[in-house]
Every structure is written in structure tokens, then in C-alpha cells.
Symmetry: D2
Subunit: 325 residues, 4 copies
């Protein structure tokens, strides 16, 4: 019997997941594997909701946002019983390698599953937050920053016309990558990051100084803290500190969707293919990534434990105040 690979997506969806699925399926078939797609992530493993996939299953999905395999939060899979059920299904179907596309939650799940299942586990970094050690960029990040940037460009039109100050909240969970990149690319005045906290007095002073120089308008980008909404509180405090009104925009879920950019499609294609190559080599317990343009593999556990070794770009932090004059 042929060896068999199962692939699933889990966690928050990210643009480029479909391109990754496509690459996994086609590389697997070319390498002699049978391929199963698991529907709805870990819940699908528990429910034995797998479907066979071939080359045609993934035609015309490279440009699509979202994931054709769906995703779900599975409380059941957070229990040993749930994981054992999933393991039993994988064993019965003779799956030799399981490829999970998602974020650190997905990789925690793979690690937990491996206590009950001896097959190979390989992770592919699919999340817009880019908060995984072991890869310069995660699949979905480039699209998310461009989506946020389009929104910033639109908001700037109205901010400029009305002489308004805007606070714009972007996603990122607890990482400031999206916020920093979008601040620089959008020509915004200031960024409020989770890593460094905010000095509201500093923001108020900066915008006041700009006003003195003739800048009647400004945009401050705020990174969410774990989830959406912190920006409202920041707006209130700022209004107490100064004389201005602040309009608020929460970009929200649009950052998760949309047709993936070129870079996301290419990264997803490379990482999906590489994951299969590693499986064929017998590897397990790693996440594929791209560092300095080269495909690399990182032990799953390090993708979250060494997160702090992936700092915000120091050069960008350094030049941001100068660019934002």
C-alpha cells in the first residue's frame, strides 16, 4: 500500500493557506503518496472527516483566500480522549505523515497528538501575525499588511480632507509586526506596540508638535492586544490629554481574507512543497520556514518558545520617527 499524507488547516485562517494546500497535494502525489485532506482541522481528525485529494482537487485555488479545508476550534481535541480519537483515525487510515498549516496553536496540537500517534508531524506556518520563530515571514503576513495598508491609504484621504487625527487598530495578537510595517508603509505618525507599551503623553506631544508645524492631521497605528478593542481606551485617554478629537477605526477581520499577494502564494508554494520533501526524508516534529531565502526546518517547540528571538526590525524602529516628520 502507498504511504499516505494527511493535511489540514487550523487556527485563524490566512491568505495563502490554499496555495500551501495545493503545493502539499501536488508534491505529495509527485512523490508517490496518497493524499487526504482533513476537513475542519482537529475536529475533522476526531470525526474522521477526511477526503481523498488529487491534483484536480486543488486546481484554481492558488488565488483564493481562506482555506478549502476549513478550520475550526476543537475543544474536544484539547483533551487526551480527543487526541486519542484523532490518533486512532490516522492509524486506521494508515497515514504516515500529518501536515498541519496554522499557527502555534496548531503546532501545540501536533505535539500533543504525537504522544498517541507515532506518525510524522510537520507544521507549516500559516497565520497573519508572523509571530513564529523559524521563518522570516509566515504565510498570510504579506497579504495582511497590504490589506491594512489599503485601508490606511483610504483613511488618509478622509483624515487629510477633514483635518482629523485617526487611531487605527490592526491585528497581530501580541506581536507588533503588522503595526510597525503598516506604520512605515502608510506614512503614519506613530505606532503603539504591545512590545513597548505606549506613552500616551508622547503621542499627544508629537501630534501637538506637528500641529505647530502645520500638520493638522495624523494617523496613529495601534496594535491589538490579544484581541480587538484596546484602541477605544487609547482614544479616550488621548482626548483627555490634548485638545484634539480622535476618530477610531478597527480594521478587524478584513485582514484575514482576500486573494493572497504574490509573496504569500510563492512562500506558501515553497513551504508546502518543502514540508512534503521533509516527510519523504523521514523527518518529524518540525515546522518548515524560510530564512534568508532558504527553506529551513525548526523543531516545533522552538517556534513558540524562541519567539523573543524574532524581534521587530531594529532599523525600522530607528528610522520611523525621522520618516514620520
Amino acid at each position: 500500500m502507498n504511504k499516505s499524507i494527511a493535511v489540514f488547516t487550523s487556527g485563524g485562517d490566512a491568505p495563502g493557506m490554499n496555495a500551501a494546500i495545493r503545493a502539499v497535494v501536488r508534491m505529495a502525489i509527485a512523490s508517490g503518496y496518497e493524499v487526504h485532506g482533513v476537513i475542519r482541522g482537529y475536529q475533522g481528525l476526531i470525526d474522521d472527516n477526511l477526503r481523498p485529494m488529487d491534483s484536480r482537487s486543488v486546481s484554481n485555488i492558488i488565488q483564493r483566500g481562506g482555506t478549502i479545508l476549513h478550520t475550526a476550534r476543537s475543544k474536544e481535541f484539547m483533551t487526551d480522549e480527543g487526541q486519542k480519537k484523532g490518533a486512532a483515525n490516522l492509524a486506521r487510515r494508515n497515514v504516515s505523515a500529518l501536515i498541519g498549516i496554522g499557527g502555534d496553536g496548531t503546532f501545540h496540537g501536533l505535539a500533543a497528538l504525537s504522544r498517541f500517534w507515532p506518525g510524522q508531524i510537520i507544521g507549516v506556518p500559516g497565520t497573519i501575525d508572523n509571530d513564529l520563530f523559524g521563518t522570516d515571514y509566515t504565510i498570510g503576513y504579506d497579504t495582511a499588511i497590504n490589506t491594512a495598508l489599503e485601508s490606511i491609504d483610504r483613511i488618509r484621504d478622509t483624515a487629510e480632507s477633514h483635518d482629523r487625527f485617526f487611531l487605527v487598530e490592526v491585528m497581530g495578537r501580541w506581536a507588533g509586526f503588522i503595526a510597525l510595517d503598516v506604520t512605515v508603509a502608510g506614512g503614519a505618525e506613530y505606532v503603539v506596540l504591545p512590545e513597548s507599551g505606549e506613552s500616551l503623553q508622547q503621542i499627544a506631544d508629537l501630534l501637538e508638535a506637528g500641529l505647530a508645524r502645520g500638520k493638522r492631521t495624523g494617523i496613529v497605528v495601534v496594535s491589538e492586544r490579544g484581541k480587538a478593542g484596546a484602541v477605544h481606551e487609547i482614544a479616550e485617554k488621548l482626548e483627555q490629554l490634548g485638545r484634539h478629537e480622535y476618530r477610531v477605526a478597527i480594521l478587524g477581520y478584513i485582514q484575514r481574507g482576500g486573494s493572497p499577494t504574490a509573496r504569500d502564494r510563492i512562500l506558501a508554494s515553497k513551504l508546502g512543497a518543502y514540508a512534503v520533501q521533509l516527510a519523504a526524508e523521514g523527518q518529524t516534529g518540525v515546522m518548515v520556514g524560510e530564512i534568508a531565502g532558504k527553506p529551513v526546518a525548526t523543531p516545533l517547540e522552538q517556534t513558540w518558545s524562541r519567539r523573543d528571538e524574532k524581534p521587530l526590525d531594529p532599523f525600522l524602529m530607528e528610522i520611523l520617527p525621522v520618516l514620520a516628520q
Copy 2:
């Protein structure tokens, strides 16, 4: 001395305002007028903040969102004294016709001003809400619905992947045009309009029925009521009525900005030019518009008093439930 036209933008900004300014300026110059741009709407009239404009002043602005003349809310202009100041400045500068691009607030202002100033007043409909009688579409509407639609397309990616229900709030002040058009174009399941109120039980039942048919996901578009935020309350009530969670997205200010679409640039060009032609013919107290493809003029007062004679598209309302199966 040459006759002189002054042009300004006022109220909420709308994509296409710059294209309208450009058409006004170039048609005015071609018709032998001098042209002044008023900076920051009615406040600019009060502050005598006018600047001469020529053909080159409006080069390369047709594709830009926002307005190069800025806009502002002027409390001072809401008083007779403010209006008299504005009138005095226009008189001193020998302006013969004043063209105001904006919404009904702008036109109320023109009417008020005309009590103190004998010059010609002409309105151009620039607002994303499309809530003005006298024109099939207002400048900015087409861009706003396409912006909202892009966001709906992105949200659908994540809704589909996660099997989620979303409530998406769009702009429109008290008009449901944006919401209805976006619901149809976005393939959403239901629309909650200000005109008709909502039956939350109906929405809950509809989504429940869809679930029974295998539709695990859905999008409901909600029109704002005057301003943003009603959607949160609707989400809470819906969650009490059924078993689902609802994610919320407020599209907000992105709907005001961005590069105008082809239709908005063309409409703006036509209406800006037509406004100048009417001025040259001696007309006053009207808003230019386009109805059934033809340029028309409507007495300013009717643009808001006859608003109810511009209903939502009845055929669209009729077929929406069928399309949304």
C-alpha cells in the same frame, strides 16, 4: 473685470470630489471665468481663505480620493453673523457664482447664505450616502459600494473557512442604499435597513433554516443608523435568540476614501461641468444631477424635502431573498 466662480467642498468627503473640482475649474476657465477655490468649506468663506485656481491647479487629481480643498464643520457658519461674513467676502471678491460640492448639509448652507448674498448658488451632489433627491447617484457612491464589497469579499473568506456568521455594518447615514447594493453584490444572506427596521427573529430564523440546509456560514449587512455602532446591539440580541455566535465588523471610514471608480470620476466630471454651464446661463438655487443618463437641475430645497421619492430599488428588494438562498 471677469466674472468669477468660487468652488468649495463641504460635509463628509467622498471619492470623486477632486474630479468634480477639476471639471468645475476647467469648464469655468474655458467659459471665461476666473476661479477661486475656497479652502475648508464654509469656514474658508468666513476666513476669506480663497486661492486662485487655474487649469494646472487641478492636474493629476482626478484619480485622488478626498478633496484638495479640504472640508470642515463650521459652527460659525451656522449663525447669521457667520453667513454674513461669508457673504461679505464673496461680495468683496466679486464672485458671481458659488458652487458647493457636498450633501444636504452643504445645500442648507447655500440656501442660508443666499439670504445675505445675491450671487448664484449651485450645488453638486458629493456624498457616499446617495440620499439626495434629484440624481440617480451621488458622487462617491459607486466607490463606496465597491470598497464595502471588497471588505465583504474578504470577510467571506474568513467566514467560510471558520463556519461563522458575521454582521457587517456599512455607512449610509439614514439611507439603506449602500447596505442593499452591498448585500446583493456580496451575496450576503440578509440586510437590515433603517427604512424597514429589522426583525431579529426573522434573521435568526433565516440563518437557522440555512444551517439545516447545510449552510454553516452567513453574512448579514447592517446599515448604520445615523452613525456607527448599532450593529453591536443587534449582535447581542441575535445571540440571545439563537445558538450562534456572531462576529462583528464595522467597515467605517474606509468607505469614505480611496481612488474613485470610473463611474464616480465620470459622474463628477459631468456634474462639475454642468454646474458651470448652469452658472453661465444665469441659473441659481439648484443642484445638478444625472437622471436616466441626462444632466438635470433640481431646486436645492427639493433635494432633501423630496428624499422619500427616491426609494430603494423595489426589484432588488423583491429578488434579494431568492438570490440569498
Copy 3:
């Protein structure tokens, strides 16, 4: 037995065709019909290549360009034998109404088929060229002009940077609608239309005059004549007449594809639904359209024979030279 509707797409594809198919299918089912999709247009009729469609068949296609039913040029269908084969298949399957989405070629085919088949024939205008009498706009037109406009905006960046003159060829077959709308929306200097021919001397003089006024760059939009390529000859002749170089861009096939705009999705939804309503009323031999915002029906033969009664917008033609200063 249930009455049955068959729907197909034919001719050049146009964005919004899928939205129209979706509306036909869902309105038909809601009206008690069975629905068949014909694959590959008239060739599919000949090959009896029909497949049953239900509401789920058309889920998630509203935003997709192209047509899920494909299209093809069928030489065989241009013969009586071919048409008789198609008629026989329709008869054997008990189809009562055939809805064809396409351009005048599609409608000629419907008319020809009706000599051999007694069922109802209804046309839906799907073509980017907008060259059909009986509707203000055809499905696909709005998307095409916006696609062309994006390209013009990009070309302007490079034209402005390099002080170059560009000739940009757009589609339209023998109609100048796309060219005229794109010229106005793109702020281009001149348009060369099939309807009016071109005076190359006029173009050369216009650009020369602009140069004297400091305009070192310009864009001239050229409408294709039946097919692509005329622009090369125009560029050569212009270069002989003056001192400038002209760069050439042929926008080509990108104008046919892409996600449909809001207006195209809405128009397609309305017209697809209306076609089914007309079928249910027993109508035949007509094309559905929208005029002045209302759904209308026009005898098929008039859609091409009265084409001249749908002129280019005279007001736009009048103001174009002024706007382009």
C-alpha cells in the same frame, strides 16, 4: 413533470456572467423550474453537454470572473444541422425555456435555433463592449472600464515620470463606449473612436499645443477596430507627423477578466432574475435589459438592428476637450 430551464454562456466572456448564472438558477428553482446548465455554449447544446444545477451549484460564484459554464465558438452551430441537433437535445430533455447570456452573436444563435425549436428563447446581455440596444449597460462593462482605468492610472505614472506620450488601445469591438469612458475617467488627452475616425493631424496638433503650455506628457486612448492592433499603425503615422515618440500599450485580454464590480454583480443579478420571470410569464424572443433603472425586454432582433440608437454620451463628447486641457 416539472418545467425546465436551460442556461448557457456564449461569445466573449464578461465579468458578471457567473452572477447572472447564479441569479437564473436560484430564481428558476424558486419559481418551480428544474435547471440545466449547458457547458460550452452552443457546442454544448449540440453535444448534449448539460448538467443539472441546484442552489448549491452556484454558491460562491458571484464574485468570480469568467463563466463556470464555459463558452466556445461553435462552427457546427452555424449550420442548420448543428442547430437541429441542439434543438433535438432540448426537446428530448423537455426544456421549456433557454436563456443565453452573451452578446449579439449569442442572440443571432438563439434566433436561428428558434426556427427548429419551439421553446422560449431569452437573451441576457453579457459582453464588455456594451454594444447592444435595449439596455443602458451590458453585464461586464463596468468591470472592463475599471480594469482599463487601473491600467491607465499605472501608465500615467510612467508617462509622467518619463515625459512620454502613450497610445493606449482598449477593447470595444466597433463601439467606442469603453474608450470614451476611460478617456474621461483617466484624464487622458484625446480619444480615437471607431464611430468618428481619427484626425491624426488633430492629435498631433493637440499634443504639440500642450507641449507649448508645459505639458510634456499625454495619453491618447484608442478604441480597437473589431480586433486588436490598430494602435501600432496610428503610432507610426503620428511619429511621422510630429517630433515625439509614442509608446504603445494594448490592454488586451485583461479587460475580459477579473472579479466583477458591484454594479456588474447587481445588474447581472437583476437581469438573470428578470429573464426567469419573463420565462415564467411565457415570453420569448427578447433580451432583458435595464434602462433608466427599470428592467425591460427588447425583441432580440432589435438588440443589433437598432444599435445606432444607442449613441455615445453626447454631453461627455462635448465636455471632453475642456476637461482634457
Copy 4:
């Protein structure tokens, strides 16, 4: 007297050039320099066409394609006399450092100028072709591949609908970077690169094999060879080799324009700032670049002489045939 920096753009324009100019100007001012912008590249140096720039000169340009400083081909600058004139102007104006944003042509010019002018010369890589050693990506590349990708996505709609094969020519001069990335990202079937030549027989066989498997449609991406047009010849030869028709699309100049993507704006901001930092450190004769996420400096001459050490991504080349099944 203050030290002074002059900045110019030259060669083909690229999206992000304005973002780079902005970063140069603001970093220079923050570092105590006066700043001059040279209008129209090397011709501006000869004509002494410089204008002072301050922080406000570069407001709101980060999102704009093209270059506000224009660019031009200067035959005069290719002569010693021309270069001496430029040198004399720089000397008379006391410019201490000259920053040129462009491609290798621009850097050749800097090197030549330095024979007659003792000031610092620093290059910034602005070209869509990405054919410069010393940086992973050039400013403009990311936008160009996304523009090409949008076009491919649109063409795919029409190719799929019509069962057609398309040959799509992209830019790149003599480098295949754009072609390779766009082929992978667009899910195209085959790429024809300048580096490796083409085997038309291979393409014909591949498409024939696909047809046998049910793939009636395909896209082949062709890299231009120095300039546009090679694709026509390839189409003719392919038509002789097989039974298919091939439609041709030359994407052309749209690849040069448009609003820069997030990555291009960020890269441009970093490299523009870094160029000024190097000037302040007294460096000369180098091009700034980014390699593995870090800012680096490379001797100008190596940017073209070591071009071969920047190969196409070997992993991408390896997996492309598998992905394209």
C-alpha cells in the same frame, strides 16, 4: 555652510521611488544636511535643474507610483563634456553627496561622474527588474510582480472560460525573476526564461499532455528579452508545432506603475534612509541594499559585474513543474 545632499531618479521608473526620495529627504534633514532634488535625472545635473527640498516637499508621496523628480535618458551625459558640466554644477552648489535612485545604468553614470567630481556617490536600487547584485530585492520589484499577477489572474478567467492557451509576456530586461515568480504565483504551466532559453517542443509536449489529462487551458509566462515582443515569435512557432491556438498578451508598461506595495514602500524607506547614513559616515561608491533583512553596502561596480551571483531561486525552479501539474 551646511553640507548638502542632492538626490535624483534615473532609468526606468519603479514604484517605490517616491518613498525612497521621501526617506532620503527626511533622513538628510534630520542629519543636518540641506537637500536638493535634481529634476529629470542626469539631464537635470547638466541643466543645473535642482530645487531645494524640505520635509513638506515629500508629504503624501509615499503611496504614489512614478517619481516626483522625473527621469530622463540623457545622451549628453554619456559624454565626458556632459559629465563635466554636471560635476561643475554640483561643485558650484557645494553638494557633498549625490544619491542616485535607479538601475545599473544609473550606477554606471555615477561611476563615470566620479572621475570629474570628488563628492560622495551612493546608489539606491530602484528598478522593477531586480537584476542588481547586492540586494535581495530592488525597489519596485514586489509591486511589479503583483501587478503582473493581477493581470494573470484576469487572463486566467478568460482562458478558463474559453479553453484557451495564453502566452503572457512580462518585463525583466534580461532577467527572469519577474517571470519565475509570476509563473509560480499565478499557477501558470510553464515559464520561458532568458537564462535558460526555451524548448518550444517541451512546451508543446507539456500542454499536449495536459490536454490528454483534461486540461483544456493553460498559461505560459514568457520573459522579455531586453525589450517587448519576443512572445509573438514564440506563439507562431508553437502554433506550428501543435494543434492549438495561442492567444498573446504583452503586459507592458503597466508593470512600471501603480501605487507601491507595502514591501516596496518599506524597502524604499529603509534604503533611502540608509543611503543618507552612509553619506554621513563618509562612504562613497556603493549601492545600498538589503540582504537577509539587513542593510548592506556593495561597491557600485559589483552591482552589475557580479550579477550572475544572484541566480533565480533554485528551489522554486525545482518545484515549479510539480506545482504546475
